[in-house]
Protein backbone atom coordinates (compact mmCIF):
# COMPACT_ATOMS: atom_id res chain seq x y z
CA UNK A 1 0.00 0.00 0.00
CA UNK A 2 2.73 2.38 0.99
CA UNK A 3 4.65 1.49 -2.22
CA UNK A 4 1.57 2.31 -4.30
CA UNK A 5 1.25 5.67 -2.58
CA UNK A 6 4.90 6.47 -3.16
CA UNK A 7 4.65 5.45 -6.84
CA UNK A 8 1.61 7.67 -7.29
CA UNK A 9 3.44 10.46 -5.52
CA UNK A 10 6.51 9.88 -7.74
CA UNK A 11 4.41 10.00 -10.90
CA UNK A 12 2.70 13.17 -9.69
CA UNK A 13 6.05 14.76 -9.00
CA UNK A 14 7.33 13.71 -12.41
CA UNK A 15 4.26 15.16 -14.13
CA UNK A 16 4.59 18.40 -12.19
CA UNK A 17 8.23 18.73 -13.22
CA UNK A 18 7.48 17.84 -16.87
CA UNK A 19 4.73 20.43 -17.10
CA UNK A 20 7.10 22.96 -15.50
CA UNK A 21 9.72 22.25 -18.17
CA UNK A 22 7.08 22.45 -20.91
CA UNK A 23 5.96 25.88 -19.61
CA UNK A 24 9.59 27.02 -19.50
CA UNK A 25 10.21 25.84 -23.08
CA UNK A 26 7.08 27.64 -24.28
CA UNK A 27 8.20 30.83 -22.54
CA UNK A 28 11.65 30.56 -24.18
CA UNK A 29 10.06 30.20 -27.62
CA UNK A 30 7.81 33.19 -27.01
CA UNK A 31 10.76 35.31 -25.83
CA UNK A 32 12.92 34.21 -28.77
CA UNK A 33 10.18 35.27 -31.16
CA UNK A 34 9.63 38.55 -29.33
CA UNK A 35 13.38 39.27 -29.47
CA UNK A 36 13.39 38.54 -33.21
CA UNK A 37 10.43 40.85 -33.75
CA UNK A 38 12.31 43.71 -32.06
CA UNK A 39 14.35 43.91 -35.28
CA UNK A 40 11.39 43.38 -37.56
CA UNK A 41 13.05 44.44 -40.81
CA UNK A 42 16.06 42.16 -40.20
CA UNK A 43 13.69 39.35 -39.31
CA UNK A 44 11.72 39.62 -42.54
CA UNK A 45 14.84 40.23 -44.62
CA UNK A 46 16.63 37.15 -43.30
CA UNK A 47 13.63 34.83 -43.41
CA UNK A 48 12.52 36.16 -46.81
CA UNK A 49 15.96 35.93 -48.33
CA UNK A 50 16.39 32.35 -47.15
CA UNK A 51 13.11 31.53 -48.85
CA UNK A 52 14.36 33.14 -52.08
CA UNK A 53 17.71 31.42 -51.63
CA UNK A 54 16.03 28.00 -51.57
CA UNK A 55 13.78 28.92 -54.48
CA UNK A 56 16.83 29.74 -56.62
CA UNK A 57 18.14 26.23 -56.01
CA UNK A 58 14.92 24.93 -57.50
CA UNK A 59 15.61 27.01 -60.62
CA UNK A 60 18.82 25.01 -61.03
CA UNK A 61 16.91 21.76 -60.62
CA UNK A 62 14.24 22.88 -63.09
CA UNK A 63 16.96 23.60 -65.66
CA UNK A 64 18.69 20.32 -64.88
CA UNK A 65 15.55 18.26 -65.34
CA UNK A 66 14.66 20.23 -68.46
CA UNK A 67 17.87 18.78 -69.92
CA UNK A 68 17.60 15.33 -68.27
CA UNK A 69 13.86 14.63 -67.65
CA UNK A 70 14.56 11.62 -65.39
CA UNK A 71 17.74 10.67 -63.56
CA UNK A 72 17.81 7.24 -61.92
CA UNK A 73 14.02 7.39 -61.60
CA UNK A 74 13.93 10.88 -60.07
CA UNK A 75 11.92 13.69 -61.62
CA UNK A 76 11.67 17.41 -60.86
CA UNK A 77 8.69 16.91 -58.54
CA UNK A 78 10.66 14.43 -56.42
CA UNK A 79 13.56 16.85 -56.02
CA UNK A 80 11.17 19.67 -55.15
CA UNK A 81 9.66 17.50 -52.42
CA UNK A 82 13.16 16.55 -51.30
CA UNK A 83 13.92 20.25 -50.84
CA UNK A 84 10.56 20.71 -49.13
CA UNK A 85 11.33 17.98 -46.60
CA UNK A 86 14.96 18.87 -46.15
CA UNK A 87 14.57 22.66 -45.82
CA UNK A 88 11.28 22.34 -43.91
CA UNK A 89 12.71 19.83 -41.41
CA UNK A 90 15.86 21.83 -40.89
CA UNK A 91 13.68 24.92 -40.55
CA UNK A 92 11.43 23.78 -37.70
CA UNK A 93 14.33 22.19 -35.80
CA UNK A 94 16.38 25.35 -36.09
CA UNK A 95 13.50 27.63 -35.11
CA UNK A 96 12.57 25.66 -31.99
CA UNK A 97 16.03 24.39 -30.97
CA UNK A 98 18.20 27.05 -32.61
CA UNK A 99 21.33 26.37 -30.56
CA UNK A 100 21.83 22.85 -31.88
CA UNK A 101 24.16 24.11 -34.61
CA UNK A 102 26.19 26.06 -32.01
CA UNK A 103 26.86 23.37 -29.41
CA UNK A 104 30.56 23.01 -30.28
CA UNK A 105 31.27 26.73 -29.91
CA UNK A 106 29.09 27.01 -26.78
CA UNK A 107 31.14 24.25 -25.13
CA UNK A 108 34.54 25.40 -26.42
CA UNK A 109 33.99 29.02 -25.37
CA UNK A 110 32.76 28.14 -21.88
CA UNK A 111 29.30 29.53 -22.58
CA UNK A 112 27.78 26.52 -20.87
CA UNK A 113 28.54 28.02 -17.44
CA UNK A 114 25.55 30.33 -17.49
CA UNK A 115 23.18 27.45 -18.28
CA UNK A 116 24.68 25.25 -15.56
CA UNK A 117 23.67 27.75 -12.89
CA UNK A 118 20.00 27.60 -13.85
CA UNK A 119 17.59 25.09 -12.26
CA UNK A 120 16.37 23.71 -15.62
CA UNK A 121 17.27 20.53 -17.56
CA UNK A 122 20.57 21.55 -19.12
CA UNK A 123 20.35 20.16 -22.65
CA UNK A 124 16.81 21.39 -23.28
CA UNK A 125 17.68 24.75 -21.78
CA UNK A 126 20.68 25.17 -24.09
CA UNK A 127 18.79 24.05 -27.19
CA UNK A 128 15.74 26.28 -26.77
CA UNK A 129 17.76 29.35 -25.85
CA UNK A 130 18.44 30.23 -29.46
CA UNK A 131 16.30 30.70 -32.54
CA UNK A 132 17.45 30.98 -36.13
CA UNK A 133 15.67 33.69 -38.08
CA UNK A 134 16.70 32.36 -41.49
CA UNK A 135 15.24 28.98 -40.54
CA UNK A 136 11.74 30.44 -40.50
CA UNK A 137 12.21 31.06 -44.23
CA UNK A 138 13.36 27.44 -44.62
CA UNK A 139 10.28 26.10 -42.85
CA UNK A 140 7.88 28.28 -44.84
CA UNK A 141 9.63 27.18 -48.01
CA UNK A 142 8.94 23.57 -47.07
CA UNK A 143 5.26 24.34 -46.50
CA UNK A 144 4.95 26.19 -49.83
CA UNK A 145 6.60 23.31 -51.70
CA UNK A 146 4.09 20.90 -50.18
CA UNK A 147 1.26 23.24 -51.18
CA UNK A 148 2.60 23.39 -54.74
CA UNK A 149 3.49 19.79 -55.54
CA UNK A 150 2.53 17.69 -52.51
CA UNK A 151 -0.30 15.17 -52.27
CA UNK A 152 -3.27 17.15 -50.94
CA UNK A 153 -5.04 14.42 -49.02
CA UNK A 154 -5.12 13.63 -45.31
CA UNK A 155 -2.72 10.74 -45.84
CA UNK A 156 -0.51 12.86 -48.06
CA UNK A 157 -0.32 15.59 -45.41
CA UNK A 158 0.41 13.02 -42.70
CA UNK A 159 3.22 11.48 -44.78
CA UNK A 160 4.70 14.91 -45.43
CA UNK A 161 4.50 15.80 -41.72
CA UNK A 162 6.26 12.52 -40.91
CA UNK A 163 8.97 13.39 -43.46
CA UNK A 164 9.43 16.78 -41.81
CA UNK A 165 9.66 15.14 -38.38
CA UNK A 166 12.29 12.59 -39.51
CA UNK A 167 14.30 15.24 -41.32
CA UNK A 168 14.22 17.82 -38.48
CA UNK A 169 15.06 15.28 -35.77
CA UNK A 170 17.95 13.84 -37.77
CA UNK A 171 19.40 17.30 -38.37
CA UNK A 172 18.98 18.04 -34.67
CA UNK A 173 20.48 14.83 -33.28
CA UNK A 174 23.34 14.33 -35.76
CA UNK A 175 24.48 17.94 -35.46
CA UNK A 176 24.15 17.80 -31.68
CA UNK A 177 26.22 14.58 -31.55
CA UNK A 178 28.88 16.20 -33.77
CA UNK A 179 28.88 19.32 -31.58
CA UNK A 180 29.52 17.29 -28.41
CA UNK A 181 32.95 16.41 -29.81
CA UNK A 182 34.01 19.76 -28.33
CA UNK A 183 33.76 18.19 -24.86
CA UNK A 184 36.38 15.63 -25.85
CA UNK A 185 38.67 17.49 -28.29
CA UNK A 186 38.38 21.16 -27.28
CA UNK A 187 37.92 23.35 -30.33
CA UNK A 188 35.97 20.92 -32.49
CA UNK A 189 33.87 23.63 -34.21
CA UNK A 190 35.56 22.97 -37.57
CA UNK A 191 34.93 19.22 -37.51
CA UNK A 192 31.37 19.71 -36.27
CA UNK A 193 30.74 22.26 -39.02
CA UNK A 194 32.07 19.91 -41.69
CA UNK A 195 29.86 17.06 -40.46
CA UNK A 196 26.90 19.43 -40.49
CA UNK A 197 27.77 20.67 -44.00
CA UNK A 198 28.14 17.11 -45.23
CA UNK A 199 24.74 16.20 -43.77
CA UNK A 200 23.08 19.23 -45.38
CA UNK A 201 24.82 18.67 -48.74
CA UNK A 202 24.02 14.98 -49.01
CA UNK A 203 20.44 15.47 -47.86
CA UNK A 204 19.62 17.86 -50.72
CA UNK A 205 20.58 15.58 -53.62
CA UNK A 206 18.65 12.51 -54.78
CA UNK A 207 19.71 9.46 -52.77
CA UNK A 208 19.66 7.25 -55.87
CA UNK A 209 22.63 8.92 -57.55
CA UNK A 210 24.82 7.21 -54.92
CA UNK A 211 25.65 3.53 -55.07
CA UNK A 212 27.70 0.98 -53.13
CA UNK A 213 29.73 2.06 -50.11
CA UNK A 214 28.59 5.69 -50.27
CA UNK A 215 24.98 4.57 -50.08
CA UNK A 216 25.74 2.42 -47.04
CA UNK A 217 27.41 5.40 -45.36
CA UNK A 218 24.37 7.58 -46.13
CA UNK A 219 22.08 5.14 -44.37
CA UNK A 220 24.34 4.56 -41.35
CA UNK A 221 27.16 6.84 -40.20
CA UNK A 222 25.90 10.01 -41.92
CA UNK A 223 22.15 9.33 -42.12
CA UNK A 224 21.38 11.87 -44.86
CA UNK A 225 19.89 9.02 -46.90
CA UNK A 226 16.86 8.88 -44.61
CA UNK A 227 16.09 12.45 -45.65
CA UNK A 228 17.12 12.28 -49.30
CA UNK A 229 15.23 9.05 -50.00
CA UNK A 230 12.02 10.23 -48.30
CA UNK A 231 10.38 11.61 -51.50
CA UNK A 232 10.52 8.08 -52.95
CA UNK A 233 10.34 5.76 -49.90
CA UNK A 234 7.79 7.80 -47.97
CA UNK A 235 5.90 10.17 -50.28
CA UNK A 236 5.76 8.47 -53.71
CA UNK A 237 5.15 4.96 -52.34
CA UNK A 238 4.89 4.22 -48.65
CA UNK A 239 7.75 1.78 -48.00
CA UNK A 240 7.14 0.54 -44.44
CA UNK A 241 10.64 -0.89 -44.01
CA UNK A 242 12.18 2.47 -45.02
CA UNK A 243 9.99 4.31 -42.51
CA UNK A 244 10.80 1.86 -39.71
CA UNK A 245 14.53 2.12 -40.43
CA UNK A 246 14.25 5.92 -40.51
CA UNK A 247 12.46 5.90 -37.14
CA UNK A 248 15.14 3.57 -35.73
CA UNK A 249 17.87 5.91 -37.05
CA UNK A 250 16.18 8.90 -35.39
CA UNK A 251 15.94 7.01 -32.08
CA UNK A 252 19.55 5.76 -32.31
CA UNK A 253 21.02 9.18 -33.10
CA UNK A 254 18.83 10.75 -30.42
CA UNK A 255 20.15 8.37 -27.78
CA UNK A 256 23.71 8.77 -29.04
CA UNK A 257 23.50 12.58 -28.94
CA UNK A 258 22.04 12.67 -25.42
CA UNK A 259 24.55 10.07 -24.20
CA UNK A 260 27.52 11.95 -25.71
CA UNK A 261 26.29 15.25 -24.29
CA UNK A 262 26.03 13.88 -20.75
CA UNK A 263 29.26 11.86 -21.00
CA UNK A 264 31.01 14.96 -22.28
CA UNK A 265 29.50 17.14 -19.58
CA UNK A 266 31.38 15.14 -16.94
CA UNK A 267 34.61 16.29 -18.61
CA UNK A 268 33.52 19.92 -18.94
CA UNK A 269 35.61 22.43 -17.04
CA UNK A 270 34.39 25.95 -16.51
CA UNK A 271 35.89 28.75 -18.51
CA UNK A 272 35.14 31.16 -15.63
CA UNK A 273 33.23 33.15 -18.18
CA UNK A 274 31.00 35.81 -16.73
CA UNK A 275 27.88 36.18 -18.84
CA UNK A 276 24.24 37.11 -18.56
CA UNK A 277 21.27 35.88 -20.48
CA UNK A 278 19.07 38.63 -21.76
Amino acid sequence: MSTAVSLTGGRGEWLRRASGVARYVLTCWKLNLAAAMEYRLSFFMLAGMMFVNNAIWLVFWAVFFHRFPAVNGWELRDVMLLWGISAGGFGWANVLFGNFTRIASIVANGELDVFLTQPKPLLINVLVSGMSLTAIGDFLFGVVIYALVGEHTLIGAAKYALGLAISGLLFLFVTLAAGTLAFFFGHAEGVALQLFNALVSFSTYPADIFKGTVRIVLFTVLPAGFISYAPIGLLRRFDASFVWFAAAAVAAFGLLAVFLFHAGLRRYTSGNRIAMRG
Binding site: Y39, M50, N53, R67
Partner: protein, 268 residues
Protein backbone atom coordinates in the same frame (compact mmCIF):
# COMPACT_ATOMS: atom_id res chain seq x y z
CA UNK B 1 54.23 59.42 -60.67
CA UNK B 2 55.85 59.03 -57.25
CA UNK B 3 52.50 59.49 -55.56
CA UNK B 4 50.94 56.74 -57.66
CA UNK B 5 53.89 54.45 -56.88
CA UNK B 6 53.65 55.18 -53.16
CA UNK B 7 49.93 54.51 -53.26
CA UNK B 8 50.51 51.23 -55.04
CA UNK B 9 53.05 50.16 -52.39
CA UNK B 10 50.50 50.98 -49.69
CA UNK B 11 47.78 48.82 -51.23
CA UNK B 12 50.23 46.06 -52.14
CA UNK B 13 51.23 45.95 -48.47
CA UNK B 14 47.56 45.46 -47.51
CA UNK B 15 47.36 42.54 -49.94
CA UNK B 16 50.61 40.98 -48.68
CA UNK B 17 49.46 41.27 -45.05
CA UNK B 18 46.19 39.60 -46.03
CA UNK B 19 48.07 36.69 -47.63
CA UNK B 20 50.32 36.34 -44.57
CA UNK B 21 47.30 36.41 -42.29
CA UNK B 22 45.66 33.65 -44.32
CA UNK B 23 48.76 31.48 -44.07
CA UNK B 24 48.17 31.27 -40.32
CA UNK B 25 44.76 29.63 -40.79
CA UNK B 26 45.84 26.24 -42.06
CA UNK B 27 42.96 24.38 -40.45
CA UNK B 28 40.51 26.72 -42.16
CA UNK B 29 42.15 25.89 -45.50
CA UNK B 30 41.82 22.21 -44.82
CA UNK B 31 38.16 22.56 -43.89
CA UNK B 32 37.35 24.54 -47.02
CA UNK B 33 39.20 22.03 -49.15
CA UNK B 34 37.19 19.25 -47.51
CA UNK B 35 33.96 21.09 -48.30
CA UNK B 36 34.96 21.36 -51.95
CA UNK B 37 35.77 17.64 -51.98
CA UNK B 38 32.28 16.87 -50.60
CA UNK B 39 30.61 19.04 -53.22
CA UNK B 40 32.68 17.73 -56.12
CA UNK B 41 32.03 14.20 -54.97
CA UNK B 42 28.28 14.85 -55.10
CA UNK B 43 28.48 16.64 -58.47
CA UNK B 44 30.52 13.83 -60.01
CA UNK B 45 27.85 11.34 -58.97
CA UNK B 46 25.02 13.60 -60.13
CA UNK B 47 26.47 14.35 -63.56
CA UNK B 48 27.63 10.76 -64.09
CA UNK B 49 24.06 9.60 -63.41
CA UNK B 50 22.69 12.32 -65.73
CA UNK B 51 25.04 11.43 -68.61
CA UNK B 52 24.30 7.73 -68.09
CA UNK B 53 20.54 8.37 -68.21
CA UNK B 54 20.83 10.58 -71.30
CA UNK B 55 23.00 8.10 -73.18
CA UNK B 56 24.86 10.80 -75.16
CA UNK B 57 28.66 11.09 -74.99
CA UNK B 58 28.59 14.88 -75.31
CA UNK B 59 25.83 17.37 -74.51
CA UNK B 60 26.04 20.79 -76.20
CA UNK B 61 29.68 19.96 -76.89
CA UNK B 62 30.49 19.10 -73.28
CA UNK B 63 31.70 15.60 -72.42
CA UNK B 64 31.36 14.34 -68.85
CA UNK B 65 35.06 15.02 -68.28
CA UNK B 66 34.70 18.60 -69.50
CA UNK B 67 31.66 19.19 -67.31
CA UNK B 68 33.49 17.92 -64.22
CA UNK B 69 36.54 20.10 -64.89
CA UNK B 70 34.22 23.02 -65.63
CA UNK B 71 32.71 22.52 -62.17
CA UNK B 72 36.17 22.30 -60.59
CA UNK B 73 37.16 25.68 -62.07
CA UNK B 74 33.86 27.34 -61.16
CA UNK B 75 33.80 25.88 -57.63
CA UNK B 76 37.43 26.81 -56.99
CA UNK B 77 36.71 30.46 -57.85
CA UNK B 78 33.49 30.48 -55.80
CA UNK B 79 35.03 28.95 -52.70
CA UNK B 80 38.13 31.11 -52.95
CA UNK B 81 36.11 34.32 -52.60
CA UNK B 82 35.65 35.44 -48.98
CA UNK B 83 32.36 36.57 -47.45
CA UNK B 84 32.42 40.37 -47.60
CA UNK B 85 28.98 41.33 -46.29
CA UNK B 86 29.51 39.91 -42.79
CA UNK B 87 32.79 41.80 -42.54
CA UNK B 88 31.39 45.18 -43.56
CA UNK B 89 28.16 44.64 -41.63
CA UNK B 90 30.17 43.98 -38.45
CA UNK B 91 32.35 47.04 -39.07
CA UNK B 92 29.22 49.18 -39.27
CA UNK B 93 27.45 47.56 -36.32
CA UNK B 94 30.46 47.61 -34.00
CA UNK B 95 31.63 51.05 -35.05
CA UNK B 96 34.98 49.78 -36.33
CA UNK B 97 34.27 51.61 -39.56
CA UNK B 98 34.99 54.91 -37.77
CA UNK B 99 38.65 53.92 -37.48
CA UNK B 100 38.72 52.49 -40.99
CA UNK B 101 37.41 55.71 -42.53
CA UNK B 102 40.03 58.00 -41.00
CA UNK B 103 42.94 55.92 -42.28
CA UNK B 104 44.76 57.27 -45.33
CA UNK B 105 43.58 54.31 -47.39
CA UNK B 106 40.50 54.16 -49.58
CA UNK B 107 37.78 52.15 -47.83
CA UNK B 108 36.91 50.10 -50.92
CA UNK B 109 40.58 49.85 -51.94
CA UNK B 110 41.52 48.41 -48.55
CA UNK B 111 38.78 45.79 -48.73
CA UNK B 112 39.64 45.01 -52.36
CA UNK B 113 43.28 44.24 -51.60
CA UNK B 114 42.36 42.20 -48.52
CA UNK B 115 39.81 40.30 -50.60
CA UNK B 116 42.24 39.63 -53.45
CA UNK B 117 44.98 38.51 -51.05
CA UNK B 118 42.67 36.03 -49.35
CA UNK B 119 41.14 34.82 -52.59
CA UNK B 120 44.52 34.24 -54.29
CA UNK B 121 45.76 31.85 -51.65
CA UNK B 122 42.46 30.08 -51.17
CA UNK B 123 42.08 29.62 -54.90
CA UNK B 124 45.34 27.66 -55.16
CA UNK B 125 44.24 25.32 -52.35
CA UNK B 126 40.71 24.90 -53.75
CA UNK B 127 41.95 24.22 -57.27
CA UNK B 128 44.40 21.63 -55.94
CA UNK B 129 41.64 19.88 -53.93
CA UNK B 130 39.17 19.95 -56.83
CA UNK B 131 41.78 18.73 -59.31
CA UNK B 132 42.63 15.83 -57.04
CA UNK B 133 39.13 14.39 -57.03
CA UNK B 134 38.36 15.23 -60.68
CA UNK B 135 41.61 13.67 -61.88
CA UNK B 136 40.91 10.51 -59.88
CA UNK B 137 37.31 10.20 -61.14
CA UNK B 138 37.31 11.40 -64.76
CA UNK B 139 40.97 11.65 -65.70
CA UNK B 140 43.37 14.53 -66.33
CA UNK B 141 42.39 17.73 -68.10
CA UNK B 142 43.53 18.16 -71.69
CA UNK B 143 42.45 21.64 -72.54
CA UNK B 144 45.55 23.11 -74.24
CA UNK B 145 45.25 26.88 -74.46
CA UNK B 146 42.23 26.74 -72.15
CA UNK B 147 44.51 27.06 -69.14
CA UNK B 148 45.84 30.39 -70.49
CA UNK B 149 42.28 31.60 -71.12
CA UNK B 150 41.23 30.57 -67.64
CA UNK B 151 44.17 32.33 -65.97
CA UNK B 152 43.66 35.50 -68.07
CA UNK B 153 40.00 35.76 -67.05
CA UNK B 154 40.62 34.92 -63.40
CA UNK B 155 41.65 38.34 -61.96
CA UNK B 156 38.64 39.98 -63.62
CA UNK B 157 36.35 37.25 -62.30
CA UNK B 158 37.45 37.73 -58.67
CA UNK B 159 37.37 41.54 -59.07
CA UNK B 160 33.81 41.36 -60.38
CA UNK B 161 32.79 39.01 -57.57
CA UNK B 162 34.23 41.56 -55.12
CA UNK B 163 32.28 44.42 -56.71
CA UNK B 164 29.02 42.46 -56.73
CA UNK B 165 29.50 41.64 -53.06
CA UNK B 166 30.56 45.18 -52.23
CA UNK B 167 27.44 46.63 -53.84
CA UNK B 168 25.36 44.49 -51.47
CA UNK B 169 27.66 44.86 -48.44
CA UNK B 170 27.53 48.67 -48.64
CA UNK B 171 23.78 48.49 -48.04
CA UNK B 172 24.80 47.87 -44.40
CA UNK B 173 24.98 51.69 -44.21
CA UNK B 174 21.17 51.68 -44.46
CA UNK B 175 19.95 48.28 -43.25
CA UNK B 176 20.85 46.03 -40.29
CA UNK B 177 21.25 42.74 -42.09
CA UNK B 178 22.87 42.15 -45.46
CA UNK B 179 23.59 38.44 -45.08
CA UNK B 180 20.25 37.44 -46.56
CA UNK B 181 20.92 39.50 -49.68
CA UNK B 182 24.41 37.99 -49.87
CA UNK B 183 22.90 34.49 -49.83
CA UNK B 184 20.67 35.44 -52.74
CA UNK B 185 23.57 36.99 -54.64
CA UNK B 186 25.56 33.82 -54.08
CA UNK B 187 22.75 31.67 -55.44
CA UNK B 188 22.41 33.94 -58.47
CA UNK B 189 26.08 33.29 -59.15
CA UNK B 190 25.44 29.57 -58.78
CA UNK B 191 22.59 29.56 -61.29
CA UNK B 192 22.64 32.61 -63.60
CA UNK B 193 26.43 32.69 -63.24
CA UNK B 194 26.74 29.14 -64.49
CA UNK B 195 28.48 27.60 -61.50
CA UNK B 196 26.20 24.59 -61.31
CA UNK B 197 26.00 24.03 -65.04
CA UNK B 198 27.33 25.71 -68.20
CA UNK B 199 24.91 28.25 -69.65
CA UNK B 200 24.74 26.29 -72.95
CA UNK B 201 22.78 23.62 -71.11
CA UNK B 202 20.04 26.05 -70.11
CA UNK B 203 16.83 26.55 -72.09
CA UNK B 204 17.38 29.18 -74.84
CA UNK B 205 15.26 31.88 -73.23
CA UNK B 206 17.01 31.56 -69.87
CA UNK B 207 20.42 31.51 -71.54
CA UNK B 208 19.52 34.78 -73.31
CA UNK B 209 18.46 36.38 -70.01
CA UNK B 210 21.69 35.24 -68.32
CA UNK B 211 23.75 36.71 -71.16
CA UNK B 212 22.52 40.19 -70.13
CA UNK B 213 23.53 39.76 -66.49
CA UNK B 214 26.97 40.30 -64.92
CA UNK B 215 27.00 36.97 -63.07
CA UNK B 216 28.18 34.91 -66.04
CA UNK B 217 31.36 37.02 -66.26
CA UNK B 218 32.37 35.79 -62.79
CA UNK B 219 32.20 32.00 -63.12
CA UNK B 220 31.02 30.98 -66.56
CA UNK B 221 33.61 32.97 -68.54
CA UNK B 222 36.76 31.54 -66.92
CA UNK B 223 35.36 28.01 -66.47
CA UNK B 224 34.08 27.89 -70.08
CA UNK B 225 37.38 29.12 -71.48
CA UNK B 226 39.27 26.70 -69.26
CA UNK B 227 37.44 23.67 -70.57
CA UNK B 228 36.55 24.64 -74.17
CA UNK B 229 38.80 27.45 -75.40
CA UNK B 230 37.71 29.59 -78.33
CA UNK B 231 39.92 32.53 -79.41
CA UNK B 232 37.10 34.73 -80.74
CA UNK B 233 34.91 34.09 -77.75
CA UNK B 234 37.79 34.77 -75.40
CA UNK B 235 38.19 38.35 -76.67
CA UNK B 236 34.45 39.00 -76.28
CA UNK B 237 34.48 37.55 -72.77
CA UNK B 238 37.48 39.63 -71.70
CA UNK B 239 35.92 42.82 -73.04
CA UNK B 240 32.52 42.09 -71.47
CA UNK B 241 34.11 41.20 -68.15
CA UNK B 242 36.03 44.46 -67.85
CA UNK B 243 33.00 46.38 -69.09
CA UNK B 244 30.98 44.97 -66.19
CA UNK B 245 33.83 45.76 -63.81
CA UNK B 246 33.80 49.42 -64.92
CA UNK B 247 30.00 49.63 -64.62
CA UNK B 248 29.87 48.01 -61.18
CA UNK B 249 32.77 50.10 -59.89
CA UNK B 250 30.69 53.18 -60.71
CA UNK B 251 27.65 51.69 -58.98
CA UNK B 252 29.70 50.89 -55.86
CA UNK B 253 31.20 54.38 -55.85
CA UNK B 254 27.72 55.88 -56.02
CA UNK B 255 26.38 53.68 -53.19
CA UNK B 256 29.45 54.36 -51.03
CA UNK B 257 29.25 58.15 -51.45
CA UNK B 258 25.54 58.19 -50.61
CA UNK B 259 25.98 55.78 -47.70
CA UNK B 260 28.99 57.32 -46.03
CA UNK B 261 27.21 60.70 -45.86
CA UNK B 262 24.33 59.05 -44.04
CA UNK B 263 26.46 57.08 -41.61
CA UNK B 264 26.46 57.94 -37.90
CA UNK B 265 28.97 55.94 -35.89
CA UNK B 266 29.36 55.78 -32.17
CA UNK B 267 32.36 53.73 -31.12
CA UNK B 268 35.22 52.10 -33.01
Amino acid sequence: MMTALAKWHKYRAVGVISVKQQLKYRVDFLMRALMLLFLMFIFIHLWSAAYASGGARAIEGFTLRQIIWYLVFAEAVTMACPWLCVRIENEVKQGEIAVRLIRPVSYAGFHYMTYMGEAALRFVVQLAAGSLIAWACVGPPAFGRGWAGFIALLPGAVTLMFLLNLSVALLAFWIEETRGLEFVLQKLNFTAGGMLLPLELMPDRLERICSWLPFRAVLYFPARMGTAFDGGMFRVFLLAQWGWIAALALVCMFIYRRGVRKLNVNGG
